[in-house]
């Protein structure tokens, strides 16, 4: 008996977590998928009615705005954070004496809650007393910087704050990558008189391809899940100019009482994440079992 117990103990220890993941991740996804196919409104209903919720979703101008915003925000956020992160990493890799201090400064926003970041930037960007008023106070009376309350530009303030929060982290990723490049190859190139910028563009950066991929996955994932930052910085407004899928889903679920729309929008969010993450995870896991 005790031998049987000893043999099965590892499985028994893992079992509760396994069951929890099955139920609370996969079961719940199944529930949401099911409800997204019903006419659920304030309360969930379970009779399947096909894809009406998705039809409603794609016909909704608010969802259209949210997806457009995700595309604009995601593309700008990912590209700017990666370029800035790489640039900072390369600059910091030049044997800078105060590297530790600078790295700490660049990375601390990552420790903050998005709500804190949003609150800070909301204050800095507010036209009445923030940057706009400050620059006007310096004598530039016509200076205008009202993006945060301007429906056409508010989404870019989300990009600004998100880049501020995450670019230091991308820098840390790239810096670790730069440090792991084989020093011998670089030395050989230097001996051959190859200029430094060529060493970077031809040798170091291409060898960091996996890190680019990781950074991309992390940033894309952050972009799709972005919720707190929008809530704190613009509240999705003006109007719903800065709605993202995550804020749309939340509004439908908890303030509009439209569970069908909430479920279908959540499913679309998950599909977008999967389209990005699944190929990555698949290749990672395969590489691991092969190696």
């Amino acid at each position: 008996m005790s031998e049987w117990l000893e043999n099965h103990l590892p499985k028994m220890v893992l079992a509760p977590s396994f069951i929890a993941v099955l139920v609370f991740v996969y079961g719940f996804i199944g529930w949401t998928a099911w409800v997204s196919l019903t006419r659920s409104k304030l309360l969930p209903r379970y009779e399947i009615h096909g894809f009406i919720q998705y039809d409603r979703l794609f016909a909704s101008p608010r969802w259209d705005t949210a997806m457009n915003n995700l595309f604009i925000f995601g593309a700008l956020f990912i590209v700017i954070a990666m370029v800035l992160g790489l640039l900072l990493a390369i600059m910091l890799d030049q044997k800078i004496r105060t590297e530790g201090v600078i790295r700490t400064i660049y990375l601390y926003p990552m420790a903050l809650s998005m709500i804190v970041t949003g609150t800070a930037w909301k204050w800095i960007l507010n036209p009445g007393l923030g940057i706009e008023a400050t620059v006007r106070g310096w004598g530039f009376e016509n200076f205008s910087f009202d993006w945060v309350v301007n429906p056409d530009f508010a989404i870019y303030t989300i990009v600004l704050a998100a880049v501020w929060q995450s670019s230091g982290f991308v820098m840390a990723l790239f810096l670790a990558g730069l440090r792991s490049v084989d020093g011998e190859i670089i030395k050989a190139a230097q001996v051959d008189g190859i200029p430094t910028w060529r060493i970077y563009t031809a040798i170091i950066i291409p060898s960091m391809a996996p890190i680019f991929l990781s950074a991309f996955i992390v940033l894309a994932h952050l972009a799709i899940k972005s919720f707190d930052l929008v809530i704190a910085l613009t509240g999705g407004g003006p109007g719903y100019a800065t709605d993202l899928p995550a804020t749309y889903m939340y509004a439908m679920a908890f303030s509009r009482g439209d569970i069908g729309q909430a479920a279908s929008s959540a499913m679309i969010m998950m599909l977008v994440v999967f389209a990005i993450v699944v190929p990555y995870l698949y290749s990672e896991l395969r590489a691991k079992t092969d190696g």
Partner: protein, 297 residues
């Protein structure tokens, strides 16, 4: 210019190098200012009076330092109808984060130990399924979780939030410990078994003492995640049980009365202080968790 033209190529390239060096340091300093500016503005604004905020400049130092805004933010600011400041919500977050971090770390350690050292058929599949759970957008589980918490009588309670954070934290904590324990040679377990040690004994006396670094990384990661969480907090709490991030957002976005920017900033700093402190004290482990959590080592 003449000097430059007459100088040898070598000293010319030296001059160029010095100029480049200067440019580099200036650029690094400019970016440091960019990252520090919001923090600077937050701190100075929180120390100004409202009058000074309205008349002065965003980037100016306070003429008269006052801690009134901090007092209000801590114990008097209004989150909707209640005006008790951030204090009760700060303690909510502590009450929520401490058990959630401890439980999820312990479960992650045991799971990682099993998956890395007691391999059995299907363990890798289970690990993959758990790993996958780390990547789902939580919106997809919000609705059923809200219903389940309601059915369990945990809706709007702190134990309910602890439960949610533990469930969705297991994936990451298991990942951290699994990746750490996988580097420990399996001969260790075999030898201990020969000596008659059982499953828990090996974990307790051999693996746990080796685990300090990964425990620190996991605790910091989980604490930062849970303290900074907003989505679960705003979805599954009610007036009185809200975590600090939700209360901060309510203070800042409450529409009643005069907008007190200094109180907003003081409240934001208070909400950020615990994780900032962790970052300053244990930055190395914080970064290790970030990179391990996202790149999965």
């Amino acid at each position: 210019m003449a000097d430059l033209a007459h100088s040898t190529p070598r000293s010319q390239s030296n001059l160029g190098r010095i100029a480049l060096r200067w440019l580099l340091y200036i650029l690094l300093a400019v970016f440091a200012l960019y990252y520090l500016m919001p923090l600077f503005v937050m701190v100075t604004t929180s120390l100004k009076s409202l009058d000074e905020i309205r008349t002065g400049s965003l980037v100016a130092l306070p003429r008269e330092v006052t801690f009134d805004a901090w007092k209000t933010a801590w114990s008097g600011a209004c989150t909707g109808i209640q005006c008790e400041g951030l204090q009760p919500y700060f303690w909510n977050s502590v009450l929520l984060a401490v058990p959630a971090v401890m439980i999820s770390t312990l479960i992650g350690a045991l799971n990682g130990y099993v998956i890395a050292q007691w391999r059995f058929k299907g363990a890798n599949l289970i690990f993959s399924l758990m790993l996958f759970g780390c990547f789902i957008p939580f919106q997809v589980v919000l609705l059923p979780m809200a219903r389940l918490l309601g059915m369990m009588g945990l809706a709007g309670t702190i134990p309910g939030l602890i439960f949610v954070h533990v469930i969705y934290g297991i994936g990451f904590t298991t990942l951290f410990f699994r990746n750490y324990y996988v580097t420990i040679p399996s001969e260790l377990v075999k030898a201990a078994k020969v000596d008659g040690a059982n499953f828990f004994r090996i974990f307790w006396s051999i693996f746990l003492p080796l685990s300090l670094p990964i425990i620190v990384v996991t605790v910091i990661w989980q604490f930062t995640q849970i303290w900074n969480d907003f989505l679960f907090g705003v979805s599954f709490s009610q007036a009185g049980t809200q975590p600090v991030t939700v209360a901060l957002n309510n203070i800042v976005n409450s529409t009643t009365g005069v907008k007190e920017y200094n109180v907003d900033m003081a409240a934001a700093i208070i909400a950020a202080l615990p994780t900032l402190l962790v970052y300053v004290v244990a930055g190395k482990y914080f970064i290790r968790g970030l990179t391990a959590g996202s790149v999965k080592g």
